[in-house]
Symmetry: C2
Subunit: 288 residues, 2 copies
């Protein structure tokens, strides 16, 4: 029983330590998600950091949910520890009579031994006297002593038999009681462990789903879409800017327009002054 | 390109931070496994701590394996960062002629604008003089100026056309080059992320298997087997000790034997002096 109480306290300690580990992990993951959100919001890679950020935040949440579940479980374990202590106290009172039966059999056993020794010595004395041809009067006197020793011995044998029966019964009861306590303790502990195990498994499943989501999001973030997004955010157009066909007023040259023909999505700018805007981008890109 | 280098450095930072988190988690789990192995080795629950210990150690190993894989990946990212820097340097040299073309078109454009303004003002002056009825000599003089301005304007229009063609070609080439660089950068980053993602997924799979193993081990650890183990370790027997049938020498009572009849596995001791040994156990158990 003492070990039962130790083990339930240790189980609670174990879960508590796991909670601390999961909490630290979760907080670190939150911090990592924050790092991802602080990473450069410029360039084609920026939207990927969003995917990382969201996934890492969710991972942190999964572990925090495990923390909450295990904290609930610790409360249950604590409740069990208290109940267990009460039950053990009650059992201790109940087995007091067994202790008494044990003390009885010890003392009766000693008395039986003594009476047996007395019986033996008296019988031997009687025999010795017979061999040595003692007087009838002496033999009678010894006969009385032998008879008395036999009676005492007999009475202790009987008493021992009764005490032994009682002792065996008490011991059997107590042993059964202790075994029952032990069995129900292990059953209870196994229930707690199952609850612990389920919480851990739920977390694994959530993390697995989360990971699949991350993989899907990455697959859905194509190279084209990233370049497209950057082109849009930079205001570069997909199409070649149209020549604003002003009818040439002066005969000699048509008014020159800065236009640029290219198939690139990225670096075309649709504003009239597109080429210079484009230029600014180009050289900001190669700023090493 | 600049953002490309920032993002690959950031990706390396992100993975490095994850490595630190996983390493801390793994070390904490090892510590937890050690706690489990330091828990009481007495009582029926002791073998369960072995299951916890082994499972927690393996969990620590899984995360440590992830650490190793990600450390390898960081090396790859670092290699890519270096290659990227070299490639960008090369590109910067290659686009030098584009910068030249840009400067050309800017200066030609300004010259064109000036020559146009000159042409306009000369034309206007000629018209004004015609309206005001200027002398033929003055008109001829202005006519020469207009002709010269027209020629200069025309030559700049032509020069602008050539410069513009060159500019457009260079810009298109450069834009394509930059777009190619951007595309291959994202592709490379996605490859790294896929490798990261696979390592994480492998770890999840291992943890899942590990958890299943834990669940199986728990299921296989029955209440009966735990009690059985304790009974064996304590030297308590399953069977009632046999009465050592000494033929009673003395007529009156048979020599009493301390025996105990019970069906409990736990508290039976097979030695002759079993009951007292049993007693010692019983009361050590209830020591609260």
């Amino acid at each position: 029983m003492k070990h039962g109480q130790i083990s339930s306290k240790e189980l609670s300690d174990f879960i508590r330590e796991r909670v601390t580990i999961e909490e630290t992990y979760s907080r670190s993951m939150s911090k990592l998600a924050k790092s991802a959100s602080n990473f450069s919001q410029l360039g084609t890679f920026a939207p990927i950091w969003d995917v990382f950020k969201v996934s890492t935040e969710k991972l942190a949440s999964c572990h925090m949910e495990l923390v909450r579940k295990l904290q609930e479980l610790i409360k249950e374990v604590q409740k069990y520890v208290d109940e267990q202590a009460k039950a053990h106290k009650k059992t201790k009172e109940e087995v007091a009579s067994t202790l008494e039966a044990v003390q009885n059999i010890q003392s009766v056993s000693q008395a039986l031994q003594k009476s047996k020794e007395n019986y033996n010595s008296k019988t031997l004395e009687q025999e010795r006297m017979r061999k040595e041809g003692a007087t009838q009067r002496d033999l009678d006197k010894t006969g009385v002593k032998v008879k008395k020793a036999t009676e005492v011995y007999k009475s202790f044998v009987e008493k021992y038999a009764t005490t032994k029966t009682e002792f065996e019964q008490k011991m059997a009861e107590t042993a059964q009681k202790f075994q029952d306590i032990e069995e129900s303790h292990i059953l209870h502990m196994k229930e707690i462990i199952q609850s612990y195990s389920c919480s851990v498994e739920d977390t694994h499943k959530q993390i697995e789903e989360l990971h699949q989501e991350f993989v899907n999001n990455m697959e859905n973030t194509s190279v084209e879409s990233l370049i497209q997004k950057l082109a849009e955010s930079k205001g570069t157009g997909k199409e070649r800017p149209a020549i604003t066909a002003k009818t040439a007023k002066a005969v000699p040259p048509p008014r020159p327009e800065h236009v640029l023909q290219t198939n690139c999505l990225l670096f075309l700018h649709s504003s009239k002054d597109g080429t210079f805007e484009l230029l600014r981008h180009l050289f900001s890109f190669i700023k090493l």
